[in-house]
Symmetry: C2
Subunit: 205 residues, 2 copies
DNA sequence: GAAGTTACCGACCGACTGGTCAGTTTAAAG
DNA sequence: CTTTAAACTGACCAGTCGGTCGGTAACTTC
């Protein structure tokens, strides 16, 4: 195999396993040795490819986590259908995969925010960055909805985006705790009602 | 000083400082020595009063955390005014204290849930317990609101409770990240709109 | 005032942490 | 074949962790 290909393959394997374990056990509770045992690799291999445990995490965030948020939460609402329907479907799908994870540990991004807030500003910068991308894209989608006439023009797009993100973070935390399926169902029906209240009012006062 | 009084005073000092540090740095990232240094006490004193670090945490949860949730999130909505107003005011107050914490680390309860989920079922039991108490009380308040005619009788109290709790957990996480005050404002205005949609419909179809 | 109890001290233990490094294996290049 | 550099090994280091334990000062009880 080509040298640089092998390098990338190994680094990627490490990152995938690393993200998995950081997600399950938290960053500080996962030792570098834990990851290496899973991969049957040695300490030397790890520090050959990465400068430090922190550098390793940053690369995971930049490579894997960002991509995950894009594919699960951003791209699905970029379509041409009714924005409110796209958001509903996107949230429904995202929560459904969470329900089907036999072992769910919550929304990775908010787990990380909780773990690093006030402890590691460098990591927080990277996490904030992803959250901002999500927020900006949601606001954009909502504005497009207003422009297309699917959303009432009086709706405060930024407020709705904050409220949607909040509720999503929260329900993911709640689902981890008890009765995920029932909670998802209740959440989705309330979400639908909330979004319905944003449809254009045909009756002008 | 009476011996048992001294015992309680010391134990309480330890718990208060423990909760503070666990909140700031997380449970696993706070060493017993960290807490003891803050109090100028020794290892021996700690293990004289508590069986283990975990036992210490459980007592903190049972004593301090439960009381905190009661006084901030449950008792304020037990009044006789309009339930929706009470909820609005309660959430507003809770978020306002978060804004004024110059160093905010999020909603303790959800931080703990994130840290212990899948790692420590014993602790999770105690945390779930508090969440359930909160949920039950919220549902009760909503039902009382329906009974008193402040809330439309078609409203799904359990669904709304889940949605309220979700959004609260989420906004607390978002507020630690960026622009807490602005985010609180946006959240509260959306929350008011959401709760308004539950007022009784006077016009029957 | 002797004996017992409570509250606390701090040295110490063994397991584990992130990180280093001298040295070995692999495979492509000359 | 020989050279070279990349990829990897695993023993090792200093430091931290939760927890133990022998000791002791202060107060109570008899």
């Amino acid at each position: 195999m080509n040298k640089s290909l092998k390098r990338m393959a190994t680094m990627n394997r490490m990152q995938v396993t690393g993200l998995e374990l950081f997600y399950k056990k938290g960053y500080y509770n996962t030792s570098v040795d834990d990851i290496l045992k899973e991969l049957s690799l040695s300490k030397g291999a790890f520090y050959y490819h990465f400068d430090s445990k922190e550098d390793f995490l940053i690369q995971i965030i930049e490579n894997l986590l960002t991509r995950k948020v894009y594919s699960m939460l951003i791209e699905p609402i970029e379509g041409h259908s009714n924005t409110l329907d796209l958001i509903t479907e996107c949230f429904d799908d995202a929560l459904e995969t969470a329900v089907h994870n036999e072992m769910d540990y919550g929304f990775i991004l908010s787990n990380f925010i909780n773990e690093f807030n006030g402890r590691n500003p460098e990591i927080m910068k990277h996490l904030n960055n992803i959250m901002q991308i999500w927020e900006v894209n949601l606001v954009g989608a909502l504005q497009k909805g207003k422009f297309n006439g699917n959303i009432d023009r009086h709706v405060d797009a930024e407020g709705v985006a904050v409220y949607l993100i909040s509720s999503y973070i929260g329900i993911r935390t709640l689902m981890v705790e008890t009765a995920p399926s029932a909670r998802k169902y209740r959440y989705m029906s309330q979400l639908r009602q909330y979004l319905k209240s944003m449809e254009p009012r045909n009756i002008t006062v």
